[in-house]
Amino acid sequence: MPSPPVALTPGLASFLKSLKTNPIDTSIDDLISLLKRRQIRHSRSCATATAYLLRSVISACRTSDANKLIERVQYVGRRLMAAQPREMVVGNIVRRVLGLIRDEAEDDREADFTLSDAGSESQPQTPRVLDDLSESLSGRHEGSDRSSSRQPFASLSAPPISMFSLLSHPEPESSLPGTPASASPSGRLLSQIHNKDIRAEVLDGINEIIDELGQVDDQIAAYALDHIHSNEIILTHTSSTTVQKFLLKAAAKRKFTVIHAESYPNNHEATHATVSGQTPDDDELLSTEAFQKPLIALGITVILIPDSAVFALMSRVNKVILGTHSVLANGGLVAAAGTRVIARAAKVHQTPVVVVSGVYKLSPVYPFDFDSLIEYGDASKVIGYEDGDLVDQIDVQNPLYDYVPAESIDLYITNLGGHAPSYLYRIVSDHYRKEDINV
């Protein structure tokens, strides 16, 4: 196992440091093993690491051919996603980078080929044959397979209308001047057209994603005053920095009470640290958070409660504000264990449940099987191995996450604003390309 030369505990910081010096393949292997060993685990750390890695991958890829870039990113992305399938942000970032490359490639083509759709079959073809959806379609090259890959190109005049795919034109106009080109291998066609460096544009795009990851909590916090009012009682859970920043922003202007469930056994130490304001000595969190003042320093009453008291106190709570691990396309979410209990209790008391989450956590994956999304953690946190006799006789489980169905959530606040859970599909389709959903 190639270990980073820096003498740090392996984590995000050490990875980012080693990324500059190590060859790219070593870095990929590094991140894979970090993900596998769960040495990077916060969703934002995973997202940041993935974005930085993909930036290096693309800058190391000495080609301006969009197809080659896509293939390369897909290859790396698949390996990363396989390393930790439950860490959905990794896949999200990979998909966004793929979308960036496709957008850039199309921008170029549009500039040169405004008139014809002739080249439209070109780029999604090679990679897409691999995924299982198009396997079933591969029998027909002319029909709707063509029409689905045509859709992005229609966007130069109007939004693609998928319902028309049934009736749309079966093949490009044979009279068009550009048609002969479509017969040639698309890769060559693309690279001939390009004069400017597509890579530079993509790298700019990735830098924007990285910037977004850095700012997302502050952007979300900007909505805090709309949702937290004076003298309200807010219930929250875990030590999510997004939630903390959200509350802090409101605390600067208003006085309210926070009830904080401690989320034993997986997150209680971090939660205690957040509440009391001691610096969490978790080097995975980037340093900015460590300097943050706790809520109590701003004169906010914070009540720390065990998770079991949630239902009892819920009748007094005005609003529940939750952080999340990832958000799924159907509006449901995967969050720290205990979240579902809180959401259910809130439902019983008709208390609004607000979830704060960056758009990067929003995954286009549809949860077919909820159980497979739940990760199980260290059982010794529930019952220590000192109690050997007991451990022998009982089966101890420690789920790290809960799946919370969309019905239990009233509002999502992302860096783009507030959305109803049923609207999330729209944000998904704005952020990810259809052809990338199965990477």
Binding site: S136, M163, S165, L166, L167, R426
Partner: protein, 350 residues
Amino acid sequence: MAAPTSGSATAAKPFDIVATYNELLRSDPDLTMPIAAIEALVLLLTHSPSSTISETLDLLEKSTAHLKQSIPNPIGLSAGTDLFQRYLITTLQRPGQLGPAGDFNAIRAHLLSNGRLFIRRAKESRDKIAAFGRGFVRDGSTVLTNGGSRVVASLLQKAADEKGGPSAVRFRVIYVLSSAKGSVDNSGEPEGMETVRALRAKGVPVATIPESAVAYAMGKADIVIVGAEGVVENGGIVSRMGTYQIGLLAKAMDKPFYCVAESHKFVRIYPLGQYDLPIEQRVIDFKTEEEVADEAKQQQEVTPVVRPVNSADSSDVVDFTPPHLISALITDSGVLTPSAVSEELIKIWF
């Protein structure tokens, strides 16, 4: 590409759209109502030489209205006619090869020469749905389904098929068979038996239950998958009578309820409830003994062998399942939440 056949039609007998539509449905059991409607309209265009846009649109509008009036339940059909009309108008408005600058004859020729293609695509969209939906059927799960939906059948068969994916899914099916007398098809068995047999042939254990046993059986089911005749604007579905109660029961027992439908079944109506559908259904028919006697006497006088109206109709009575009961719609444009349907519809109408 064939030129518009303007001369040939005049000699033939006047084109009857209703008969064509019915004939299309009869000749191909795999054809859905919207596609048959589109097909009938394409044939109509072949038979009528219209050279201007407004003439064509006018003709389409008249025939559509006529067709809708003559069919007892035009919901599914109107999805097809609307889609066809909107496609025509949108293509004409859009800049590009087929736009106003382009030739109207070009788009006409495209439609006329590709009628078969539309049917093929519509059938292919079932495969596409099956590919999307296969993920919903998990190993070891039990699926509850009803009716004679061809999309559901193809989805389940695909899931059971060894060739359909990396490995066949081992699942069980609870098939709700309609007990109503009218839903017996020509061969004398309830609708859906064909699918049941096909699934059993593939080694899938299938249990058939009557509609009255749905609540009893729901506890054993993991997911519910139903088909639809039309998907309405708010994301609810119009489908075979009995689907609504399955939806309610699934909700009550917290089971995911999925609807499988091709996107050409999206139809622009907004029903506010069961009795707000734009069709006449004599399901709830209050009678006193006097009226029953009167009716019986009348019927004997007119024709002694006529069947009572109710049982003849009950094979295609429908109900409306509101969107809050539906977990997701599995369509050929992906897995959609019910609220995404209105957006798709808005895209074609505005």
